[in-house]
Structures are given as C-alpha cells and as structure tokens.
C-alpha cells in the first residue's frame, strides 16, 4: 500500500494527482468467510480493522447495502468525548480516547482529531452540584474534568448571553479539556483503507436479505449478490438493527428514531470547542471550514426516514438562540437527518446473542461516532474470542431483564417523558 506522506503528495503532484492507488478495492464476494460484518459504517469498518490487526483474522468481509461511510458516520456532528459518570461508560470511552489520540498515525490517514475541549453548561446551583459529582467521578476514572465558574466560562465563550435578563443564566459548567472533534469521513476511509490492505473484502451495494441459522448456529447470510457462508456474523447496522433483527426473529430493546443536525454558513473562527446548553437539548461546535455545527433533540417518533421535520429544527435552534444570540444573524446552510438505534437506557449493546456465532453491536443513541474506535476494538475482541472483553462486560443485552441498566443521563427512546 502506498504510504500517505508529504513526499507522496509532492511526487503525485508531478502527475497531476492522476496516479494515486485506489484506497480500497471493489471485490466480488467470495462464497465463504471466517467473519462477515454487516454494515460498512465507522463501527463495522473499525471492527474489521481490529479483527485483522489485533486478532489476525483476515478472511473477513464487510457487507454494506449502500456505500461505506454513507450512514451515520457521515451524518454526525463529529464530537469525541468521554465525560461519563458511570464506571462502565467512562472506562469504555476513555479507552477509546487513547485510540483516538494515535489514530491518524496508526491509520496513516489524517482524521484531524482535534482535542479542543467540551463544556457542558450549568444554569442552576443544582446543575452545578450534579456536574461537580460527575466531574469527580470522571477524575476517579482518570479522565480530565474541570468545574468552571461563571467567569471562567465567560473567558472561554464570551459570545454567549451573559446579560442579566436571560431566562437561563449561566452558572458555570463542566469541561473535559481532552474532548474534541475529528473529521468523520476520514475515520471511515482510514479504517477502510487499512482493513482492505490487510485482506478484508469491502463489499458495497450488497443488501442482506436473510440469514441461514441451523440448530441455533449461524451458517451464513443471504444477500442481493448471492449467498455467503460465514462462521461468524457481526451486526453493526445502527438504525437498521431492527430490520435485520426481524429477519432473525429477534426483538431488541431498540427503537429507530431520526436525529437531525444542521450547519450554518461559514464564518470566521469564534468558537473554539464544543458547547452544550444545559437548559435545553442543544450543542454546537465550529468546523474547520467555519460552519457552526449544531444538533439537539430527536424528532421524537419512530422513523426510518433519513430526514426530519422542521418543528424539531426550530425547537433546537430556539435553545441555541437563547444561549448564543449571534446565531440569529447566520444563514442555515443545510440540515440533514440520520437514523439512530436508540436503546432503552441510552447506552450501547456489544454482546453475543442466543444464536451461536452471531454478535450484536447496536444501541448507540446520540453518540456513536465518539465510540467508533473502541466499539470496533471491543466488538472485534468479542467476535474473535467469542466472549465479551472487560470493557464491554456491562454493555450486555441481558442488562434490561436483569435490571443492570446504564441509564447515564436519562437518554433513550422515551423523549416524551423527559
């Protein structure tokens, strides 16, 4: 594989960039694989990469209905963080932060990981207390957390509304300085390129139509491009999880909902990190191109449409304007939606299933992108070793029936209760 570097860039400049190697091949599906990963998004590509790299399992195929990186990995708001209170979530995501820090070098692909910090704003004394508690929990798990008072917040985001008349005054906030953003497409492409180089077949435009399960054991999958035998199958299909689960006669604690995001026209740099509003569901960051990247609530009803409705955008941006009045003068460039696999407690599931050789990776809710590397890493371990790793030992499917929920922040599908 051609190594990407400043020298290869200069060399290819002499041939008008016409002679770059293809980044990944377009193979015809083989009749049999050791492992088939369904879903060529960030998590699926990362899983295949770590299967090859960490476990030396290279007879692997990724089956993708559309094109790689065309789903939620290309639709998210690129935020990376590990500011969780519960030990299971904190350890899992902090392990992921370590993978992020070295990802560009490891993949020889600039994922533009930029640890510019995240601030969760507090608008009451009670919220400050809750953040102090969460910050302390984070620090006990080795994650950097800093409780900011009002003046410290004002220094970092002076453009927020600090006036006296404001309905939800800023009391302070909790900051994770090591959180940040990355270029989401590059994450998918970087993993794809390295996985392909290690022998993984990336098969695009191939829809899974069924599964071959014999005596409780997976034997293969049926696809629009023929039957493929597989010793092990991993599902990594986010919002399409329930569609495939139905083909397996499985019912899961997952509902599919549409989540929208939007970007403004590009403006000069004014916001350094990521900021979340504490009195409504709204978060914002500024991309390297200068666009303000914003998101918030689900549309609130089950949806497989990868687009949403205007009332939700209006509602989310009402919160945005309450925090940052300058947004009223920006034009909106575009809005879009992605379909989220909303788990019932707001935390993901990475586990084996009752079908031998079938593995499940779903339930990412609002935050799948930040966990892309660690999700792939732990899912690859779970598939390769046929047992969960310590890091995903609490992200089990049976936690709902046993009552060991990871209800970190009251997220999940039931937005109408909150």
């Amino acid at each position: 594989m051609q190594k990407y570097s400043v020298f290869s860039l200069i060399k290819n400049a002499f041939s008008n960039h016409q002679n770059w190697e293809v980044a990944w091949k377009d193979p015809t599906p083989k009749s049999e694989y050791d492992v088939v990963i369904i879903g060529g998004g960030g998590h699926g590509l990362a899983t295949a990469y770590y299967l090859a790299k960490e476990h030396n399992i290279r007879n692997v195929a990724i089956i993708e209905k559309g094109w790689i990186g065309g789903g939620n990995v290309g639709r998210n708001t690129t935020i990376i963080r590990s500011n969780f209170m519960y030990d299971a979530n904190a350890r899992f995501n902090e392990f992921g932060m370590d993978l992020w820090r070295n990802l560009s070098q490891e993949l020889n692909f600039n994922v533009m990981f930029s640890p510019r910090g995240i601030i969760n704003l507090a608008h009451s004394d009670a919220q400050m207390n809750a953040y102090a508690r969460r910050g302390n929990s984070m620090r006990l798990n080795g994650i950097d957390a800093k409780l900011l008072d009002r003046d410290e917040v004002k220094k970092l985001i002076p453009m927020a509304d600090f006036s006296d008349e404001v309905r939800f005054p800023i009391f302070g906030g909790l900051m994770q300085p090591s959180a940040g953003t990355a270029r989401h497409d590059a994450v998918a492409w970087g993993y794809a390129r390295q996985a392909d180089d290690m022998g993984v077949d990336i098969i695009q435009h191939c829809e899974v139509t069924g599964f071959d399960v014999v005596n409780g054991k997976i034997k293969g999958i049926r696809t629009s491009r023929g039957d493929i035998k597989a010793k092990k199958v991993g599902l990594c299909v986010a919002g399409s999880t329930n569609i495939l689960a139905e083909k397996l006669n499985m019912t899961l604690p997952i509902e599919t909902h549409v989540l929208q995001a939007c970007v403004s026209e590009p403006v000069k740099p004014l916001l350094d990190g990521v900021v979340t509003f504490g009195a409504g569901h709204f978060y914002i960051s500024q991309s390297d191109k200068g666009e303000m990247v914003m998101g918030g609530d689900l549309d609130g009803y089950n949806s497989y449409a990868q687009r949403g409705n205007l009332p939700t955008i209006q509602h989310v941006l009402t919160g945005g304007l309450a925090l940052f009045p300058f947004l009223s003068r920006l034009k909106m460039l575009r809005t879009w939606g992605g379909i989220m696999d909303m788990s019932m407690d707001g935390s993901p599931i990475i586990d084996k299933t009752h079908i031998e050789g079938l593995y499940l990776n779903c339930g990412w809710c609002y935050g799948g992108f930040k966990s892309t590397p660690v999700s792939g890493w732990t899912f690859a371990h779970t598939i390769a070793q046929d047992k969960v790793h310590e890091l995903n030992s609490e992200l089990r499917l049976n936690r709902f029936s046993t009552g060991h929920l990871l209800d970190e922040k009251g997220l999940g599908t039931k937005t109408w209760i909150g």
Binding site: N242, L252, P253, T256, Y304, A305, N309, P311, S401
Partner: protein
Amino acid sequence: MLYIKCPYCGLRAQKEFSYGGDATVKRPNINEEVSSEDWDNFVYMRKSPRGKHIELWQHIAGCRQWIKVQRDTATHEIFQTAKVTEEIR
C-alpha cells in the same frame, strides 16, 4: 410537519401532539403473577418496524385525548387515526 387527524378535533399540526410510542404493546394484567420476561417485553422490547406502525399520540395542546395513529415510519404517511379504545386493522 406532520398533520394528524385527531378523531375528536379534526386535522391539526404535529406541534399540537406529543408522541407516546408503540400502541400494540400490551401491559401485563393487573393482580396476576408477571414473569420477568413478560415485564421485559412490555417495558423494553420493541419491534420498531420499517413501514406501517400503530402508535399512540396525545393531543396535548388540544383536547388532551390519547389517540392511535397508523403511520409509515419510512415515508411518514398517515393512513388512519382512531380513538384509543378503537382498533386499527
């Protein structure tokens, strides 16, 4: 914007309604022994189909009645609405 025909008030904008989830889920009977599995199915497990979905909505900014809506989860087309006591086939 969805437009939902409330069986009591007529066609109204989505903003007047609040969503209540899958209407086909049945609560286990009161005063009977309920297994963990039944509770699990009732509280957490959902089919979440792509296509026709029968769901509950509340006309929160109108008559405040709960209603049933049959909607396509991929196209958002609404086929039928009914009072919560009525069946949608």
